[in-house]
Amino acid sequence: MKKRTLVLAACTAGALVLTACGGGGSGESADGTLTLKLVAADYGDKASNSSTVYWEDLAERFEKANPKIKVDVQVVNWNDIDTQVKTMIQSGNMPDVLQTGGYADKVADDLLYKAEDVLSPATRDNLVDTFARAGEVDGVQYGIPFVSSARALFYNKKIFADAGVTEPPKSWDDIKSAAERIRESAPDVIPYALPLGPEEAQGESLIWELGNGGGYTDADGKYTLDSDANVETFEWLRANLVEPGLTYGNPAATDRKTAFADFAAGKAGMLNGHPSLIQMSKDGNVDYGVAPIPGKDAALDSTLGVADWMMAFKDRGHQEEIRKFLDFAYSKENTLKFDEMYNLMPVTEDTLREMTSSGKHKDLEPFFELLPKASFYPLGDTTWDAVSAEIKKSGGTAVGEDPAKVLGDLQKKAEQATADQ
């Protein structure tokens, strides 16, 4: 009896451990077909436009062309994908191909194939140069850009006209004077929407810092979060937008989605936005204009570029099959379909040409021009994910009393993260 209880206990414990550890294995079945495991982020916001639809269709067509390879598609929503991927990595149950927001942290743990190992030369050459380079860690490309977006200044034409502002601001002083006039003509409107909340503090901060010749790293790739130019940027924001009440009362607690929603509801005069704001503005019947990002003295000719990434894991050793799959996924037909499905910007030359010249994407045209000149986060730095998380959390408070202290604390954390590598 005692023995039986023990055995039962052992089985129960064993079962729990087993379910906790989960799958693994090479994915090769008896008849020689091999299963590639694809994990991808969901760009849709409802069942009908879920990325599952896109990937399953693509997998089906790929399997038809390559009968020996099966593709197991798993689409995860943006909120959970980081945690789920972490769990997969921790439990040794890694995907073959992953499409998500960042790649460099996985390079630090030596989990990924180099891009040249899993892309044919033709596919690789087809990637837009700036994006391909943003996929490099120490000069070697691991991250394969998948979709992109770029930022520009959106302004509400009606609010501007009512305030007597005739052209979009080019410099910071223009922003300030336009904001002051909007405050007078429309007191209920937020003149400039400055979202420095945890959702994307790292984005809005960098856009402003670029305007002052600052940024997150120096030419050697060392973190310069508390450089003079950056501190000055936040001091300017505090003194000219926050304290006079020309933006939200608490920018550090205001998320981008709030700012976007306010703009789309006609409650914000101007803000830095990306292409998804186009549709939102149309839905809200807001007559918007798009202009280059204003800098301290003149409009910037570059902008913040953001890309999402594709990467291939070495763990299960499916290099050949991954190459076939990625070459298929990066064909013009497929990338164009994905970009048009979600109104995203392409990262491949042929698709960019097609979308620029087809005339179907008039709205996106100002952004197409910006793409080849985009600046990026220090994506290739393997500590960036940790540093970015810190900036999201506390970066926004730099518009508070003491920018130098907030940025100095962040810089310390960034240096510590670098030292821990």
Partner: protein
């Protein structure tokens, strides 16, 4: 027949075995019966605690890859966090403030619901509502009611002239804390009130009668009779609320996510914030939290001498 006898002759050793088995079972006592429960506790309580402590000594990369032993590094890193001091202060104020307010209000409410009045049944039911609703749902509900542009509470307060223009209550720690404490008290009231109400109903009527005969006033009766007899229920309420409020995650996460920065975070929320940058450090915070809760409850029980019936 003889073979049967022989077979029967073999029986004694067998009965002997089953005899030992029985006495073995007897020696196990209640173990086979509580075994499953013990196993459950080991698997869902002790094992996670062990894993939590172990994780706090590990170096884990952002991608989730275990890079080896970190020793006490994660604890050192945690205590070097510039925000930790204010987070701990906030946690103490939060816990003490919410529990004290809850207990005081619940005492009054319990007294009220112990009276007979028309509609008592309905109001008693109504009191359950904040308890029955998901705390996260309540928190998100209040977050939207307090929204700067669309919040109904903002509109009402502006219309009543309490404030001039709609305010961003939750964006500023100075106003976010009182609102979050209000919501935390709101969701803690039902349980506490019912605990105290149950306590009130165990006080025998004769005691009150005796007090009346002796000429004790209302206040005197309450202080000298009701409160002492309510003590066990009161202590249960305090201890459970201490643990609940200290660990209260959904109210704060639902309303401010601990932000801006960690200005509206308690240690529990701070632990969750750390998770995005360093799991090891976050686990270290959990261990500290765990220790804090144990110490806090032990200290309270000692001070209140909970196992002594008499005051």
């Amino acid at each position: 027949m003889s073979s049967k006898v022989t077979a029967g002759g073999r029986r004694p050793p067998r009965t002997g075995r089953s005899g030992t088995r029985r006495s073995g079972l007897g020696r196990l006592g209640p173990l086979p019966w509580i075994g499953p429960a013990v196993l459950l506790i080991v698997v869902v309580v002790l094992w996670p605690v062990y894993e939590m402590v172990r994780t706090s000594f590990l170096k884990i990369s952002v991608s989730g890859f275990v890079r080896g032993w970190a020793g006490l590094d994660k604890y050192r890193q945690l205590f070097d966090e510039p925000g930790l001091g204010s987070v701990i202060t906030a946690t103490v104020v939060w816990t003490v403030g919410v529990v004290a307010l809850t207990m005081v209000l619940s005492l009054a409410l319990a007294q009220l619901f112990d009276q007979r009045f028309p509609g008592r049944r309905v109001t008693r039911w109504a009191l359950i509502a904040p308890w029955a609703a998901s705390v996260l749902m309540t928190a998100i509900g209040f977050k939207w009611m307090l929204d700067r542009t669309a919040g109904v509470l903002n509109t009402v307060m502006t219309d009543l002239g309490i404030i001039d223009t709609p305010r961003d209550w939750l964006g500023d720690p100075a106003t976010a804390w009182p609102w979050m404490m209000f919501v935390a008290v709101f969701v803690s009231l039902p349980f506490t009130t019912y605990t105290l109400l149950a306590g009130l109903q165990t006080v025998p009527g004769e005691v009150y009668e005796a007090a009346r005969v002796d000429g004790a006033g209302v206040w005197q009766t309450y202080r000298r009779i009701t409160l002492p007899l309510l003590r066990p229920a009161f202590l249960v309420g305090v201890v459970i609320n201490l643990i609940n409020v200290f660990n209260s995650f959904p109210v704060i996460w639902g309303m401010t996510r601990g932000g801006p920065d960690s200005d509206t975070a308690t240690t529990t929320v701070f632990m969750y914030q750390l998770k995005s940058s360093d799991i090891g450090e976050s686990a270290a915070m959990s261990v500290v939290n765990f220790a804090l809760v144990v110490v806090m409850v032990a200290a309270f029980l000692k001070v209140s001498r909970w196992n002594q019936e008499e005051v």
